[in-house]
């Protein structure tokens, strides 16, 4: 009996509730956007509330963007470290004579490897990591541009809310 009720209340019903809430939020957002374009000059209290809600939405978007940028930075850091390590290895391999013994650690086993092969391998890895770094740079730049435009819209929204509040205070 207990199991059944748990299933009934916390399971699909709870999930459905959450889903419905999300849907409502989305619809509300769309309506807010619509109403704001329709009557941007009207200074009613409902308009103010709409603007505040929109500001909240925009702030959420901004924090999401910032999180993404932070994640990208972390990835960049990881790749930079790997690039440095690979470059050190390459320098070391370049210093070796042709008949030097090179081993590669695969799992718990050391496998003997051709020097030329190892060299090519490390070079390929450096190439890949450099390309990946370039790609990450482009995404970070893109995200930062988006963040700046979001910040601008937020500042504009805040100004509008302030002016709306001032208008309401006078009336």
């Amino acid at each position: 009996m207990r199991e059944w009720s748990e299933y009934d209340w916390a399971g699909p019903l709870g999930l459905r509730k959450r889903k419905r809430k999300k849907k409502e939020e989305k619809q509300e957002g769309a309506q807010v956007a619509l109403r704001n374009t329709n009557s941007s000059n009207a200074m009613s209290s409902s308009n103010l509330r709409d603007a505040q809600r929109e500001l909240e939405n925009k702030a959420n978007d901004l924090s999401k963007l910032q999180k993404e940028i932070a994640k990208n930075h972390q990835m960049r850091k990881k790749y930079t470290v790997q690039l440095g390590e690979n470059e050190l290895v390459l320098k070391e391999l370049d210093l070796l004579k042709d008949d030097a013994n090179v081993y590669k650690l695969i799992g718990p086993v050391l496998v003997k490897q051709d020097l030329a092969e190892a060299n090519a391998n490390v070079r390929k890895r450096i190439e890949y990591i450099s390309a990946e770094l370039k790609r990450l740079d482009a995404t970070v730049q893109d995200l930062e541009e988006k963040q700046n435009s979001k910040k601008d819209t937020i500042v504009k929204l805040q100004q509008r809310i302030q002016s709306l509040q001032a208008g309401k205070g006078k009336a």
Partner: protein, 149 residues
């Protein structure tokens, strides 16, 4: 000269801006300090490796030694090739080198780390100066605000 200029810039900023600058500088100082301590540990490990190589090169072949399998478990073994060593150069690659080459490798790495350390130390001290300056100006501004209100 540069710090004097940045100090003048800071004095013209608002409290919030100075605060942001200070926080940023503090963050960077912490990051640099972490890097410095990492380099220090790496250097000390290489020095340990170097001294171990020195130690090993002094022993004749067929010396009885104890090899640590874990921190508390040692197994007896005999030394077979004291003239060759395997060096872990990173990213899973190992290179067989002779004893003098191995020592040379350690010394080169230590020197590289030392030069990096010195460079980083310089940058870190500069950053620390900037952070301190920002802190002083922030304090002054806060005091001014408190006395004026």
């Amino acid at each position: 000269m540069a710090s004097w200029k940045s100090g003048m810039g800071l004095e013209r900023m608002s409290v919030e801006q100075v605060k942001a600058v200070k926080e940023q500088a503090d963050l960077e100082v912490n990051l640099l300090q972490d890097s410095l301590s990492n380099i220090r540990t790496a250097t000390s490990r290489l020095e340990i490796a170097s001294s171990a190589l020195n130690d090993l090169s002094l022993r004749p072949p067929a010396t009885r030694i104890l090899v640590p399998l874990t921190a508390s478990l040692y197994v007896p073994a005999t030394l077979h090739h004291p003239h060759h060593v395997l060096l872990d150069v990173g990213t899973g690659y190992f290179i067989q080198k002779t004893m003098p080459e191995g020592k040379d490798y350690c010394h080169r790495k230590i020197n590289l780390l030392k030069s990096n350390f010195d460079q980083l130390l310089e940058i870190a001290s500069k950053k620390k100066n900037v952070a301190d300056e920002a802190g002083v100006i922030l304090q002054a501004k806060l005091n001014q605000l408190a006395s004026s209100s």
